[in-house]
């Protein structure tokens, strides 16, 4: 079982998540060119890590569970790199300007 996390920590994480939501909302009005997607996904990834690490208690989970959480990310990485690798390295479809 997990140690009890203080309410303060949960509230701080919630506050950070809310602030990041506003940041991603307003940054989207600024055209950063190729960086648009990098910033948007970077903020989303940060929010996800905060939720996983604190709300989902992976911070205090045993190594086996941590390994499986990592496996989830790893599988997603395989899916995206191999799929995109296929689409970009063959002339299956006409590709637009990336992003």
């Amino acid at each position: 079982m997990h140690p009890v996390t203080p309410v303060r920590t949960y509230v701080l994480i919630w506050l950070t998540l809310t602030i990041l939501t506003f940041v991603t909302f307003y940054v989207s009005t600024i055209n950063l060119g190729a960086l648009n997607i990098v910033v948007a996904l970077g903020i989303a990834f940060t929010k996800m890590m905060l939720v996983i690490w604190f709300f989902m208690h992976v911070r205090t989970d045993n190594p086996l569970t941590k390994l499986f959480v990592f496996a989830g990310f790893f599988w997603m990485a395989i899916l995206l790199t191999m799929t995109l690798g296929d689409y970009f390295s063959r002339t299956w479809m006409p590709l637009g300007k990336f992003w």
């Binding site: 079982m1 939501t21 939720v51 989902m56 086996l64 569970t65």
Partner: protein, 234 residues
């Protein structure tokens, strides 16, 4: 750690301890681990849709950006905020069950359900807006692509993005409905006093599910609503 072991020893005979586990501690670890294995299959489920989205968006970046302008980021942002609050109340519900605070647990479950419902209501208004705007592809008579903000050369690709939009947010909303069912079950169990500091794994694993659904939305929000960059937000 020493303290928790004392508690475990006291509850070694807990009626909730299944016979194939050594103690409540081991059972709890197995419960959360099993939930994570289920969540990995959920990552594969949503991952397929995110993967397909990535391929099509890289093929038609300008068309997707233009089409995204027909989605309302104010609704999307409000829903993100609502869902994050529900994640906070869910985390506090798990904490209350761990500490044996029965009343607080019930209230936090009720708040989580209220925010979950609020999310679905906002989503419903949004779907209604798309229905009225005739932005529902695959539905004869409910798709139109006209006006100054609808470049005619993107008529085909716009329908692809809206299909992604409805499938991804639709499956997400379905998961929210399932989550509300789980919350109802938890509330009934909590009112019977089922959960104790030694046995709160059902609340913990339901929390994992709820937070996972939150994470899916955290990615849907920027990928569907915020790729336009040209419009006013509110």
């Amino acid at each position: 750690m020493a303290d928790t072991h004392v508690v475990d020893a006291e509850h070694a005979h807990s009626p909730h301890l299944r016979h194939h586990f050594d103690d409540m501690h081991q059972q709890f670890d197995s419960d959360t681990f099993g939930m994570w294995v289920f969540l990995l299959t959920e990552i594969m489920f949503f991952g397929g849709m995110f993967g397909a989205y990535t391929v099509y968006r890289s093929m038609y970046p300008e068309a997707f950006a233009a089409t995204s302008n027909f989605m309302n980021p104010a609704f999307g942002a409000a829903n993100t905020a609502v869902l994050i609050v529900s994640s906070l109340t869910m985390a506090l519900a798990v904490r209350a069950s761990h500490l044996g605070q029965q009343k607080l647990l019930q209230w936090m479950l009720v708040f989580t359900m209220i925010f979950g419902l609020a999310f679905l209501v906002i989503k419903g208004f949004e779907y209604h807006e798309h229905w009225v705007d005739m932005k529902v592809p695959l539905f004869p008579g409910h798709w139109s692509w006209t006006g100054p903000e609808a470049p005619p050369q993107f008529a085909h690709e716009a329908q692809i993005l809206f299909c992604f939009y409805f499938f991804m947010t639709g499956f997400h909303a379905l998961h929210m409905l399932v989550g509300l069912g789980i919350m109802t079950t938890l509330l009934v169990m909590a009112r019977k006093g089922t959960f104790t500091p030694a046995y709160y794994a059902p609340v913990e694993v339901s929390g994992l599910y709820w937070h996972f659904v939150d994470i899916v939305w955290i990615f849907l929000f920027p990928l569907l609503y915020l790729i336009g960059h040209t419009k006013k937000l509110i």
